[in-house]
Symmetry: C2
Subunit: 317 residues, 2 copies
């Protein structure tokens, strides 16, 4: 069987021209751009929890990096470098090859270099750390939302959760719908370009990983404000609209998680600029409500209060 | 049961005054010191592999950070910031409290701030990433060893492996010996101060995590040189010396792993300076041999070649 060092070399050692020293020493050495602030985040994916053993290895590789890139997008940071720590039961080379292909395809798309990490035997676990750069004072934090700001979201919400609900037989999709929703679940597209464009426009931002209500809730809590959003304005795919009367589908839309879209707040005066940005990026950006004084999250449907109890995904709830 | 967010807040949110933004956003924000190079490493510890479920949580917290600090030591970097990604089956609060106490006690000792990470449910897995700083050109890499350099190691070798061997009944220690060796296994002391002092002196360095022979072998491979070391010069504790005729003990000394001492090379002209450093730091530093031309690692005992086959620890061997 191939040794740990062989495996690292074969599947995870790629050129890292922007690093002073990449994979192969006790630590990697990088020189951050002068004056830039470093944005640093980590996300851990566990088999049987965040993905299934039966998922294609390529999609697991894609997603393990995508969820981290999404954190950079939510900060308005340019992603630069990643570390990957990987526990795997057996050194399954076919799996590792597929995984590394999915990982590096996305890394290349965003100019991210893998500069280090760790491999060990153990229950399948992928822990990625990402580092990006942002000019001082320009990061998109969660704590800057102001009363009167508009609340926007990118893309459409809930399709990934619909795919999961269908798989778990909590809802029935057509085969074609299931394929589309599973693609949304397995191959999320991190909104890095959007995040960079929102520097200087957005007052707060977060990526929607745990569901719109939970993640918008984090902005409200950190910014110490309230929000009013309208159910009928939430951006829904054709598939979602087809199932929108179903309670499970509504839950997917509001609190499904795994969207990896951005939720952000902007001063109302910038409404046209955000609309123009949507056209420029060819990415739906939808105003779903506004920031109010207080600390409640209010959801309206046809002018009436809509009750909700599911606040999103909690790993220990 | 406490939610993920409650747990993060309770056990893993500590002040991080040197960060622009610590735990609680999509990413942490840090401002590296102007002109410094960033050293970045990650180590993953898996329950049942790197530690036991029955180990005290405090020692697991200590070790999860210690092995990462050891990577900073081996680079001659000043450790600054850490991320912690943690998978745990149930939100066992007593365990988390003990773990965080062990982790933060060591972090405080070295001025390291926890600025982010992730928590999720899953088989117990601790993935730590560490970031440190080093002036440009002064990092202790593996690839700088020169023919004629002396080879040194810090501390004593093999006690941690003796503890493990005793636990696995491959060797018998007295109860008092077992206590001392288990302390070496569970509570390694990262040689950060030594690493910093070796800047400008050492031509290459590595921390001994996989065993002396394997780790010195990495220096040889990266530096494209050979080495000759003498068995009788290897620094051994009183316990090790007591068992030194035992083949298992010899294997622990040469290839046991989990030492987290530094192995480094220095020009022979600096011999006295290294001896003086040993006194200043009150830490044994022992010259065990020298770098030669070629690519073999030769081990001598009483002037004769000593055969060895165990090259250290490989996670998939």
């Amino acid at each position: 069987m191939a040794s740990e060092f062989d495996l690292i070399h074969r599947y995870f050692t790629r050129p890292a021209p922007s690093a002073i020293l990449g994979v192969g020493d006790d630590a990697a050495l990088i020189q951050p751009s002068p004056g830039m602030v470093l944005a640093v985040a980590a996300d851990m994916l566990v088999a049987g929890r965040h993905f299934s053993y039966s998922d294609k290895a390529e999609t697991v590789g894609h997603k393990s990096l995508a969820v981290n890139l999404s954190d950079m997008a939510a900060m308005g940071a340019t992603p630069r470098w990643a570390l990957l720590s990987l526990a795997i039961k057996d050194a399954d080379e076919a799996w590792l090859q597929g995984f590394s292909e999915g990982f590096f395809a996305l890394a290349q798309q965003f100019g991210v270099e893998l500069i280090g990490g760790d491999t060990t035997s153990g229950p399948l676990n992928l822990s990625v750390q990402i580092m990006g750069e942002v000019p001082p004072g320009q990061a998109l934090r969660r704590d800057g939302a102001q009363v009167g700001d508009e609340i926007w979201v990118s893309g459409t919400l809930g399709d990934a959760a619909l795919g999961l609900a269908n798989m778990q037989q909590r809802l029935v999709l057509t085969p074609a719908e299931a394929v589309a929703c599973m693609a949304a679940l397995h191959m999320p597209q991190p909104r890095v370009t959007l995040g960079l464009a929102l520097r200087g426009m957005a007052t707060a931002a977060i990526d929607i990983s745990d569901g719109l209500l939970a993640d918008l809730g984090h902005i409200l809590e950190r910014s110490n404000v309230a929000a009013e959003i309208e159910f009928d304005r939430l951006p829904a795919s054709e598939i979602m609209r087809h199932h929108i009367e179903n309670a499970t589908a509504q839950q997917c839309l509001l609190a499904g998680g795994d969207d990896y879209e951005l939720c952000f707040t902007v001063p109302a005066a910038l409404h046209q600029k955000v609309s123009a940005l949507s056209k420029k990026l060819d990415l739906p950006l939808t105003c779903i409500g506004s920031i109010k004084a207080g600390n409640e999250l209010t959801l309206l449907k046809a002018g009436k209060y809509m009750l909700f109890t599911v606040k999103g995904f909690d790993h220990f709830a």
